[in-house]
């Protein structure tokens, strides 16, 4: 497997696992996920023209983080939480809430960065308080991003790998 493909699976009935490899050493990938200036260069909502408003990350155990995106006319989307454990270059465990969307409750996000030499693998697990919350989050993926599955075999290959 040489391609840098994002793989999404549902390892338990309350979790989503996102896996992706990056063509960069682990320290660099770690920086890209933890330095607010770099995070703002790539992380986005991918719809509706939301722009970064603020990006705060107090990267230490018990430290708070908060990301805010805004529309030019005022509306905001904010995510926030607390860093539970921070193991430099290796792992982050953090809580996460979608502010103003209580139905999703508090998630626990675990990001593992696995050193593959010139490459780094990210394994990100998002655990929801309930199956319903997880499925609701999956179902709100942007409608515009319809996949083009040519055939079921490819689709199942994706599943079986997960």
């Amino acid at each position: 497997m040489t391609s840098l493909e994002t793989i999404v699976s549902t390892p338990t009935d309350r979790a989503i696992l996102v896996t992706r490899e990056f063509e960069a050493p682990r320290q660099l990938v770690w920086n890209a996920f933890t330095d607010p200036d770099i995070v703002q260069r790539w992380l986005g909502l991918n719809f509706g023209g939301w722009q970064w408003e603020s990006c705060e990350m107090d990267l230490r155990e018990g430290g708070a983080w908060r990301w805010v995106w805004a529309q030019p006319d005022g509306p905001q989307i904010a995510l926030s939480g607390v860093f539970r454990t921070v193991t430099p270059t290796e792992q982050i465990v953090m809580t996460q809430v979608y502010e103003g969307m209580d139905a999703f409750g508090e998630m626990v996000v675990t990001m593992r960065f696995i050193d593959l030499g010139t490459r780094t693998r990210l394994e990100e697990t998002i655990e929801y308080p309930s199956t319903e919350a997880r499925d609701a989050d999956l179902q709100q993926a942007p409608e515009g991003m319809k996949p083009g599955f040519e055939n079921l075999d490819r689709l199942l290959a994706t599943l079986t790998r997960g």
């Binding site: 063509e23 920086n31 890209a32 993926a141 199942l156 997960g162």
Partner: protein
């Protein structure tokens, strides 16, 4: 690092038994298990009896039957009523619908990660050039491009 992938949603509106959502929950639960995914992958190649489905697994046939029952409840698998051996059949439409959600979620992340690929490239270049950065004579700053 997850995020709401769409405009502020209203998940609390789901309380009065939306059957579609409930079934989708069952589908995602069914897909969470590697044995059940393997059963679906086998059925994608054609119908099979419970015995045939159980053959490649270390686990007992009753355990496989249990997995198949879950897949049936989720609507992912159906079984012939009439035929003697009641072969199982994949309900591809139901599977495609569930995977559709996963795929859209995946593409949302893929869009972010492709931007990250580009940023990582830039960071690597910056790292390599950093020791050599000297003030440019003439006051031009060619390597600094702030595009917002």
């Amino acid at each position: 690092m997850a995020m709401p992938a769409d405009a502020p949603p209203v998940p609390s509106e789901r309380h009065d038994a939306d059957l579609d959502d409930e079934r989708l929950d069952a589908v995602f639960t069914a897909l969470a298990d590697p044995t059940r995914r393997a059963i679906l992958a086998r059925l994608a190649q054609g119908e099979a009896s419970v015995l045939e489905l159980a053959a490649p697994f270390e686990i007992s046939q009753p355990a496989v039957s249990k997995h198949i029952k879950m897949l049936e409840r989720a609507g992912l698998v159906s079984r012939h009523r009439d035929a003697q051996r009641r072969p199982c059949r994949l309900e591809a439409g139901v599977l495609a619908e569930a995977v559709d959600y996963l795929e859209r979620y995946r593409q949302h992340w893929e869009a972010n990660f492709r931007r990250l690929d580009a940023v990582l490239d830039e960071l690597r270049t910056e790292q390599h050039t950093e020791p050599h950065t000297e003030p440019h004579p003439g006051g031009t700053h060619p390597q600094r491009e702030d595009q917002s």
